[in-house]
Amino acid sequence: MQPSILEQGFDLMLFGMGTVFVFLTLLVFATRIMSWAVNRFFPEPEPIMAASPAQPSPGSTAAVDPKVLAVIQEAIHQHRAKHMP
């Protein structure tokens, strides 16, 4: 017998929400294991702050006066403000 649409809806909710939770739970574990393994076996010399939205590129060890660079970045930033709101 073809299940009613309500039954189908409940099936969808049950299996759907279940899968979402199972998947994300697995992801929590997998992520924790990955992070643990990386920091245990392959630690990086200088960790990067999670909070920093953009990482300084390795090549940017300033050969330019930081003030001038700041001025330029401000200028580039203002210039960009028009283009990427």
């Binding site: 969808l12 759907g16 909070a51």
Partner: protein
Amino acid sequence: MDNLLGLWFESGIYQMATGQAGMILICMGLLFLAIRKGFEPLLLVPIGFGGVLANIPGAGLAFSAAENAILAGDVQFLADVTQLLGAEIGSTAKELVKMYDGADYAIRHQISEMAYAADHHNGMLYSFYSVAIASGIAPLLIFMGVGAMTDFGPLLANPKTLFLGAAAQFGIFATVIGAVALSAFGLMDFSIADAAAIGIIGGADGPTAIYVASKLSPDLLGAIAVAAYSYMALVPLIQPPIMKALTNEAERQIVMTQLRPVTKREKILFPLVLLVLVALVLPSAAPLLGMFCLGNLMRECGVVDRLSDTAQNALINIVTIFLGLSVGSKLEADKFLDPKTLGILILGIVAFGIGTACGVLMAKFMNAVSKQKINPLIGSAGVSAVPMAARVSNKVGLEANGQNFLLMHAMGPNVAGVIGSAVAAGVMISIVQGMLAG
């Protein structure tokens, strides 16, 4: 003189139906909201504009060659089509178009060929829709660009915020129940596929919603996309009352411990871990999450910055223009002006509300069972709507404690919500297609 009459019969004023005029006004309203009120303008400007174009009477921009041929009304062609579709003799063009849309692939293919042979063409917006959305490509490329813009740092620093992203997806499935209930009680006529496509509005994620709707319920795509983007823009109005109602002042003042530093290597490996998990557990989510992970890997791996840059800029911009116009093609009056649209708009906002509530409640539940307290205000960010929902968490948090910046903490559940709705999308497409086939 014939030409003059011809031009008059062709002019929009003569042909304009009330529905089309109404839709043009509605689309102008969307443009107003996008431009003046800042409602997700990157999408709603092209969508609204595409909606106007789709409703220009006589231009047929949103119709396929076959539909345009039927509407052109050549007597012999109509007779042939009537016979092929097995329609009653004397059916109107609109009835034939409706039957054509519902017909089998083989018959549609045959009528299409007849239309091409009679020198009719696919409308511009129809072509855009075929290439950009029906193929699935545009939402996937946008998702790749979103992946390239996403920083999983806060999530990696505190992986359990993934549970908040999971909980908020209950908005999706509660809405599915709402939609099928409306059907079961005879108030609306939603199929299970329609219900799933409507539910995904609760995922608060534009490209995911468009992707699912294009697969399960293309006719409702216009209303679903408009609802999804509009409510995403309304997150700062929808969420705070719910968040405040479900929390007390003390909970809202919880200060969270600073996030631990996350290394570059973890960031590089995370999209690969996610990809492998998708491969092992949920192949049906592979297109969406695969492209998302690719974008994120290009961002983090540090050796293909020029590809990542293009994915975040030129490519996503180009795709956005076509995606918006294509969605606009589904704002054609005959498809949009339907009681179902009202149902979709109501169910959509309910989905947002339930998702928000479940995120907050999950955070409170986690506080009840765990020692490390989290501020329940970041739970609401689990609906995604990146980064608006995280900003709302931050703002409501600052109202309770002016020194408590929750933004970074809320980014974790926020991006978790993106993964969560992509998972929900994959599982819904897979289950519903199984139900339709079975």
